[in-house]
């Protein structure tokens, strides 16, 4: 058999048709047959299952009612299925209930095999078991045995059909293909014939015949078109050849003309180059060009001359040029050129060059880069100029300027240190406050400012102009007027007060907003800008200095520094002056007090001693004797009172004055005090009036001490009220306070003395010629006692000779007393009376106090009392200790940094009882006011003790608390 490639077109077409039909048909037939068989079998099994289901369902009642006849009747229905060979129904216990065979022969049903599932196929046999279920319970089983020989027959039938169909199709394909192949092959064969003619005779005018509109027809048409094109091309080629010969002649003529033109241009170029070289020589400018891809550098003659290199001696590359550049400048040159490459912009730089003769030249180089289409630098050109002389001149000038600046700076520094030395010296000259302030202002003018104002706060917190200075003394009155007119006020958010509040300096570049109305006169006085600097010493800002600069004068850093130094030094000097003054004042007060004390002690003593001598002489009559004794007694009592006062003050200073607070009515106390002063008032014919509201309620007070207070106020009033005057006492309730007001028609108090009324050793008139005696301690004691009661006392007077009013306020007792004199809350005294120290042995006491001395003394005292104290510094340590050591009693200070005593006890009380949340606790504090006491108790302390506490009191309290565990 020939290979397929060598077969004729006819044979190929025939075979294709037959093979295609055969290969398509055969698998399709087989697939169809297979599918049909499979589907048939599926259907068969399903049908059988359905039969079993129907028989089973029909047989439920037969099974349940054990009616085998009925079951057999049901099975007989299977006769409709000819392939069912045998069937049976089993009861639920597996025994055969009914049977059926197609041929009526007896049939012994196979035993029910529960382990064999209903596996349908065994060769051509199907055995199917189907359960019979009723109400979800199995009541029996249907068994069907079926013979499926039918399937085998079906397979044989399909094979026959496939064979017949395949054969038929093959024959039909053969006939059809032999008819069609003629229509395809005939025109192709004709075309092949024509091509052979063209190729052998080279006659392109021959054309192939015929062909329809199919692909073969197109092939014939294309073949004919191709022949036509070849024919046309032949003619064009002939035409082209003759035109080319003509153009060669024309070009030759043109070329000759061009050559003549170029020759003329070159001559002109040569002439202009000569002119350029001459110009370069005159300007000491050389030009250069650098062919970058070839790395070839071309210099003009003048450039060779400038570099001092003969044209032949120069290595005409970039590296050759670089080697002539001064070594320190090479990196800079490279960088500038690379930058130009990148940016494409022209460059300009100066560099030094080392001539072969050893001289150094400065060259100013300009250049520009040319890039090709792709952005690659291809050419660079530019000029170089010798600027050595210009450079030298510039350098000289810069040096000169530097020297001048250095000299000026040295001069400034010298002046600055001289100024500061003068400042220090001047400020140290005096310890007088005003003199120091004046000196500070004087120093500022004119060195630092055209005018300077020094503001300071006085003792009462009022702002004062301590000093004022202007460079033109004749303008000083006007300046002072302005300064007074625009005295700063605390409500301003900018200015002197703000500087004092914040301690930060400020700078006005113009007239302040508040003084805008007087902008023009201020400008006449030289105001342009103002620098405000705080006066600050020992972390306290107590004033400010204002440095005014004239218009148009900048505030230089130098001047600013000077002003700051001046302000700092002035602040220290002023602070020192103030301290000195205060020390002087304290000293003076003490001297006065001692003088007064000696005088006051001596006065009654004089009377006592004098009358005593007379009594001893025994020459007095009865009336005189009585007067003597009365006088001695009165003076002795006066002296006792003096000494009592002194002792009270001493106790107050030592912090040892203690109160016995009880719920108390004020009216009887006021009345008792009135009774005590009445004789003195009557002696001066002073009318004493009292308006007492008896329904005001009670206060927590030490009755004796409060009586002392009121007595003091009344005595004072009577003492400073002239004969025939009037003193009024008023007791009333003002909100949550009781107020006792003592008003008199006496000499009054100067406003400036009012703030000092309650100070120790202060007396409005301490001269030896003063009309009123006394030590000046009474009101100091009054103030302290009232404050110990949680109250306040204040003095009020409309001025000298217009009387004075003293008001004492004490808070109402927040707890109503059970009975008169009963304690309003547990106090130290109650605790001590109730308990002994017996329970203190080994008592674990946790002491919390931030103050080391307090801790030490408490621990020492507690150890002495037999307790086992532990002391900690902070509330946090206390909480830790509480958790770990479980102390018996907590003793805590109130005021502590961080967590205070109130917070500590709140945290402790928040703990569960087993973690120590209910530990008995005492507050031990210097705060002894009623509010403090209440705050401590409400925060969770059982008891409140005022510092300092006596050891026996402490012991009593702890013993009392220990029993509450």
């Amino acid at each position: 058999m020939k290979p397929l490639r060598d077969l004729s077109l006819r044979a190929k077409l025939r075979r294709a048709a037959v093979l295609a039909s055969g290969t398509a048909l055969l698998p399709a037939s087989i697939a169809f047959a297979t599918y049909d068989l499979y589907a048939f079998r599926e259907t068969f099994v399903r049908r059988l299952t359905t039969s079993a289901q129907i028989v089973g369902a029909n047989s439920i009642s037969a099974l349940l009612f054990m009616d085998q006849d009925a079951a057999r009747t049901n099975l007989a229905a299977l006769r409709a299925e000819p392939h069912v060979v045998a069937a049976a129904i089993y009861a639920d216990n597996g025994s055969v209930f009914a049977t059926y065979t197609r041929d009526g022969e007896p049939f012994s049903a196979p035993p029910l095999e529960p382990s064999t599932p209903t596996g349908p196929m065994e060769g051509s046999q199907i055995r199917l078991y189907h359960p019979i279920e009723f109400e979800n319970a199995r009541v029996g089983t249907v068994y069907i045995h079926s013979d499926v020989r039918e399937i085998g027959e079906r397979v044989r039938r399909y094979a026959g059909i496939v064979a017949v169909v395949s054969l038929g199709s093959f024959l039909v394909a053969l006939v059809i293909s032999s008819r069609f192949q003629k229509a395809i092959s005939t025109p192709i064969l004709h075309l092949a014939e024509t091509a052979k003619v063209v190729s052998t005779q080279k006659d392109y005018s021959v054309r192939a015949a015929g062909g329809g509109h199919d692909e073969v027809g197109q092939l014939v048409t294309t073949f004919n078109e191709m022949l036509a094109q070849i024919e046309r091309r032949d003619a064009e080629l002939e035409e082209g050849r003759s035109s080319l010969e003509r153009r060669v002649v024309e070009r030759t003529t043109d070329l000759q003309k061009e050559l003549a033109e170029r020759r003329r241009t070159e001559e002109a170029l040569k002439r202009s180059q000569g002119l350029l070289a001459e110009a370069q020589k005159l300007a000491r400018v050389g030009s250069w060009e650098w062919d970058i891809p070839a790395n070839k550098v071309t210099w003009s003659d003048e450039l060779h001359h400038l570099f001092g290199v003969a044209p032949g001696a120069f290595t005409s590359t970039f590296e050759g040029y670089l080697s002539l550049v001064f070594p320190d400048d090479r990196a800079m040159v490279k960088r500038a050129i690379e930058e130009s490459f990148r940016s494409g912009r022209p460059f300009s730089f100066d560099h030094r060059a080392l001539r072969p003769d050893g001289s150094v030249m400065t060259m100013q180089s300009y250049g520009s880069v040319v890039k090709d289409e792709s952005g690659r630098p291809v050419r660079m050109f530019g000029t170089g100029q010798d600027v050595s002389e210009r450079k030298a001149a510039e350098e000289e000038r810069a040096q000169l300027i530097r020297e001048q600046a250095a000299r000026a700076e040295a001069e400034t520094g010298r002046r600055r240190s001289a100024f500061l030395a003068e400042v220090s010296a001047t400020l140290a000259e005096s310890l007088d406050y005003d003199a120091v302030a004046a000196a500070a202002a004087r120093l500022a003018v004119p060195e630092v400012a055209i005018w300077c104002t020094v503001y300071t706060l006085d003792e009462a917190g009022q702002l004062q102009v301590a000093a004022l200075e202007h460079s033109d003394p004749t303008l000083l009155p006007k300046v002072r007027e302005m300064v007074n007119r625009y005295m700063p006020t605390p409500d301003q958010t900018r200015g002197v007060w703000q500087v004092i509040r914040t301690g930060q300096s400020d700078y006005y570049t113009d007239v302040p907003e508040t003084a805008r109305a007087d902008a023009s006169p201020l400008s006449d006085l030289g105001y342009g800008s103002a620098l405000l600097l705080p006066l600050r010493a020992r972390q306290n800002t107590f004033g400010a200095m204002i440095f005014v600069k004239p218009p148009g004068q900048e505030l230089s850093a130098d001047i600013h520094g000077l002003a700051r130094s001046l302000a700092d030094r002035a602040a220290v000097a002023l602070d020192n002056a103030r301290l000195y003054r205060e020390a002087q004042e304290a000293n003076r007060l003490k001297d006065e007090f001692l003088a007064t004390l000696s005088h006051e002690l001596r006065t009654p003593l004089n009377a006592i001693v004098g009358w005593s001598k007379l009594l001893r002489l025994g020459q007095l009559d009865a009336a005189t004797t009585a007067r003597a004794i009365e006088t001695i007694d009165r003076n002795a009592r006066a002296q006792t009172q003096l000494i009592e006062d002194i002792l009270d003050v001493s106790r107050i200073v030592a912090g040892k004055l203690r109160l016995n607070l009880r719920a108390t009515d004020l009216a009887p106390i006021v009345e008792a005090a009135l009774d005590a002063v009445r004789p003195a008032a009557e002696a001066k014919e002073i009318r004493v009036e009292s308006v007492l509201d008896r329904s005001v309620g009670q206060v927590a007070a030490d009755a004796d001490r409060l009586q002392q207070v009121i007595w003091n106020l009344l005595s004072n009033a009577i003492k400073f009220t002239p004969r025939g005057g009037r003193v009024q006492v008023r007791l009333e309730r003002v909100n949550s306070h009781l107020e006792v007001a003592v008003a008199d028609t006496g000499i009054g108090i100067k406003p400036q003395f009012l703030p000092y009324v309650f100070e120790r050793f202060r007396q409005a008139d301490s001269s030896s010629t003063r009309p009123h005696g006394g030590l000046g301690l009474g009101l100091a004691i009054v103030k302290h006692l009232v404050e110990l009661h949680g109250g306040t006392v204040e003095a009020d007077s409309e001025g000298e000779g217009r009387g004075a009013t003293f008001r004492m306020k004490v808070p109402l007792s927040p707890v109503s007393a059970v009975g008169r004199g009963a304690p309003a809350w547990p106090t130290v005294r109650d605790a001590s009376s109730a308990e002994s120290h017996a329970g203190l042995n080994g008592l674990k006491v946790l002491v919390v106090d931030d103050e080391p001395d307090s801790r030490d003394i408490l621990v020492t005292v507690l150890k002495g009392l037999g307790a086992a104290p532990t002391a900690v510094k902070t509330a946090e340590e206390a909480l830790t200790h509480l958790a770990q050591q479980r102390p018996d009693v907590l003793l805590s200070d109130i005021e502590m940094p961080g967590t205070d005593g109130y917070e500590l006890i709140r945290k402790v009380r928040a703990l569960p009882a087993e973690s120590g949340g209910r530990i008995p606790a005492a507050a031990l504090t210097a705060y002894a006011r009623t509010e403090d006491r209440l705050a401590a108790l409400s925060a969770g302390f059982q008891i409140h003790m005022a510092k300092p506490v006596q050891p026996d009191e402490l012991a009593a309290v702890l013993a009392s608390l220990a029993t509450r565990r």
Binding site: N58, I60, S61, A62, L64, F65, M66, D67, A70, D92, N93, G94, P114, S115, P117, T118, P131, F134, E135, R138
Partner: protein
Amino acid sequence: VLKGGRLLASFLAMALTVLSCPRTAALEPPSEYEVKAAFLYNFARFVEWPPAGGAANQPFIVAVLGHDPFGATLDRTLAGKTLEARPIVVRRLASLDEADRVHILFVGTSDRAQAAQVARTLAGTHVLTVGEMPGFAELGGMIGFRTERQRVRFDINVAQASRAGLKISSQLLKLARIVGADRP
């Protein structure tokens, strides 16, 4: 289609049920009253009563009137059985007074007049009456047992049952002899 595993499991469960049956039950044929007791239970499963009010799980009552031929057999057979989740309770009645409250009433008598009396008294109630005296169904009872070739068979009076509102399954009717459609 069941998966092989599940199919196997259900067979195994069935096998265990078969094996755990008492040996005597498998070998010896049941007595007549064991069969009748089982039939009483099966009647309940093939008869539909009209829906009754009250709770869904009220007990299903099987009662024996008068003479009781079952002895303990009926109680043993019905013990633990339920009908659509309703427990089955066995009662024994001396008179017809409470008979209208039961679902199946087994009339133990062999007196024809008494049988007719039962039918009259229970007319208008939904009680399935079952008896074993000959001709019970023809006399106005609903299902009457009879014995045929040593096997227990039954007659059904369909007309009487449908008068009482009871629907009898065709499965049951197929096994019975239908009797006395119109006789009182």
